[in-house]
């Protein structure tokens, strides 16, 4: 029931997810938190334009998870190094625009680390639920 209540408040979190490989991991230990997760598949974390993340918050995401291969182990050899460099620069900008960093998570999970992936989603969805809907950001947008 709890999950339902929260859903009526419309807190969806949106992980941007690289490579389909991750999705092959069969996820048995998943919890109810997953109901608020919507995955956007992209070929590589290197494809992620930081504006995607802003857009997601704008469209009502309460949290964003960016997940892809470990540095050095990118399916496309070095894509995630680019992604990492971009995020380091981008993070301060996001903080500046008023996004609570507890709502944005970057994590490296390889296709063979199903358990890690599950724990990650469980933990982050729990945390985002605690934070509740990200109304501040949406209000900001509406005020404009």
């Amino acid at each position: 029931m709890k999950a339902n209540t929260i859903l009526t408040l419309n807190p969806k979190s949106l992980p941007l997810c690289a490579t389909g490989a991750l999705m092959q991991a069969r996820i048995w230990q998943a919890r109810a938190g997953w109901s608020i997760v919507r995955i956007i598949k992209l070929p590589c974390t290197g494809r992620i334009d930081p504006l995607f993340i802003i857009k997601a918050f704008e469209k009502g995401a309460d949290g964003v998870i960016v997940s892809g291969c470990h540095p050095g182990d990118c399916h496309y050899t070095t894509g995630n190094y680019h992604a990492r460099r971009r995020w380091i620069a981008f993070k301060s900008l996001l903080e500046f625009t008023g996004i609570d960093m507890k709502r944005l998570h970057f994590s490296w999970v390889s296709a063979s680390e199903a358990i890690k992936w599950v724990d990650l989603i469980n933990n982050i969805t729990d945390e985002v639920k605690k934070l509740g809907p990200f109304v501040e950001y949406r209000n900001l947008r509406e005020a404009q």
Partner: protein, 657 residues
Amino acid sequence: MPRIGVFVCQCGTNIASTVDTKKVADEMAKLPGVVYTGDYKFMCSAPGQDNLKEIVKEHKLDGVIVSACSPHMHEKTFRKAVEAAGLNPYKCEITNIREQCSWVHHDATKATGTLKSIDLTRMAIERLKKNKSLSKIKIPIKKRALVIGGGIAGIQAALDIAEGGRQVILVEREPSIGGNMAKLSETFPTMDCSQCIMTPKMVEASLNENIKILTWSEVEKVDGYIGNFTVQIRKKARYVNEDLCNGCGLCIEKCPFKAKSEFEMGMTQRKVIYTPFPQAVPNIPVIDAANCPKIQKDKCGACAIVCGPKCIDFKQQDAVITEDVGAIVVATGYQLMPNERFGEYGYGKIKDVISGLQFERLASASGPTGGEIRRPSDGKTPKNVVFIQCVGSRDEKKGVSYCSKICCMYTAKHTMLYKHKVHDGQSYVFYMDIRAGGKRYEEFVRRAIEHDGAMYLRGRVSRVYEKDGKVIVQGADTLSGNQVELEADMVVLATAIVSRDGADSLAQKLGIGYDKYKFYNEYHPKLKPVETVTAGIFLAGTCVGPMDIPESVSMGSASASKVLALFSNDQMAREPITANVNRMTCNACWDCVVACPYNAIEKEEVKNRQGVVLKMLAKVNEGVCQGCGVCVAACRSKSIDLRGYTDEQVYAALAAF
């Protein structure tokens, strides 16, 4: 208005138990542009696909959504079905409502699962509205292959490709092909002599008209992409004219200078002009320039005097040659971890502590002792030999975390070889576990213990030191709980199998991945074990990780069959997920050029009719582009986009969220 059809799959009860598929379909019917919706028990079944085809035609659909399992499972299936119904296959998108939704929901009321499926499907529909028709990219194929590394894996690959009627260039960095297998004495589990089974293959490779062997050579540069690689190969100066040399060996005989023999693992000397071993292929010597007084200070020149065909050329230089190939097999093999790293075992300090490969040479009929087991320090026959397994393996701190896999087997083999040659000798083996998985392998180890009397002690060795001409080995026997101290005449270390020096730099040239131990990464460890992430480059043998001869040979043959399959077409089709540049807005900042991990972006000159360069533009080489999209996020003027994952598509999905 688009005409989209939405098909929601129940996957038996896989999806239907936590998702109300009918409700998902009904909800989707309300969206603009959706003209048909329905839910089915099994979309992927033959009737399911036929139904899909009929509906596409009947409702004149121009886009199809299948909400079902992961696209890894059936994206191909449904795109094919849609294509058969006359639609562009890239107008079909899959929504994953099984792995991402039904399987992670346990809510029997189906409320959460249904809601999420509706969201996911809606996002996919909005994305689909932005999909463009795409067609597979056609690339011509050069039907010649390059094999790097002439060990057993590379030789096997070369022979199989040649057998399939295609030309092969086999590049080997040593003066002869053969690799590590040429050094082995007899081989487990059948105990056939390594040379006897290896040399016929080497000769076969050298006689095969389709195989061009380049020894004493290394790959310097690799450009291009599947079907169209251009490779630069450095032929190191041999100081012997290969075309003239008839392999008589007079030069070797007359050369007055010697150096340590690499092939004999430093246990004996070879001449300065040499072939590594008598059956070398090609049977053409090379001069070890660093040790040759003629080349260093213009003294000697004996070889040139005796050489009949006059093929010695002290002025020879390295030559770089270029070859065009369509596929590459990498088979660069392994080496042993330098034992010097194991000071506690006395290697390098104590002469009678040797490595496994050195023992192979001692046991080999063509080795430095003619196959008699005699210890290096004084040439005496050792009566007690201690073998230590897992030296450096399975020990993250001192060596590597992995198991070297073949040492259990070759140590058992060594105890047998030893017993067969020194009847009154006793062997001891310190081991951690015995790993003898494989056909007839366990029986082989049992034979070493039961028939040839090898004494196996479970435990680690803590120290090896020299005392009165003996090597004292101290260790623990964990099964009896006692400390043991053995007086040995010789100690053999089964040191870890590691990747070749320079394995990383070769991988970088090729654009293939490697792990933290510099073993090459397969595309998929289970389902694509000989492919790499770079299309057209395949792997064989121990450059992937420790393995024995049968496995290396299997991988060689497997790679060859992949190469031949590729060469069976004149052109190949590739997924059209590639970047393309907007020629109107690109401002030639080259950010994308720098960012692309595959060097797929060229700098194009746009000229007017007079041939004057008007401007520069980024241009994606579709054959090379792998579709990662790194360039897209790098371009600040938004002038480059990725087909199949365009900004438009991603934003459409985000907006529908």
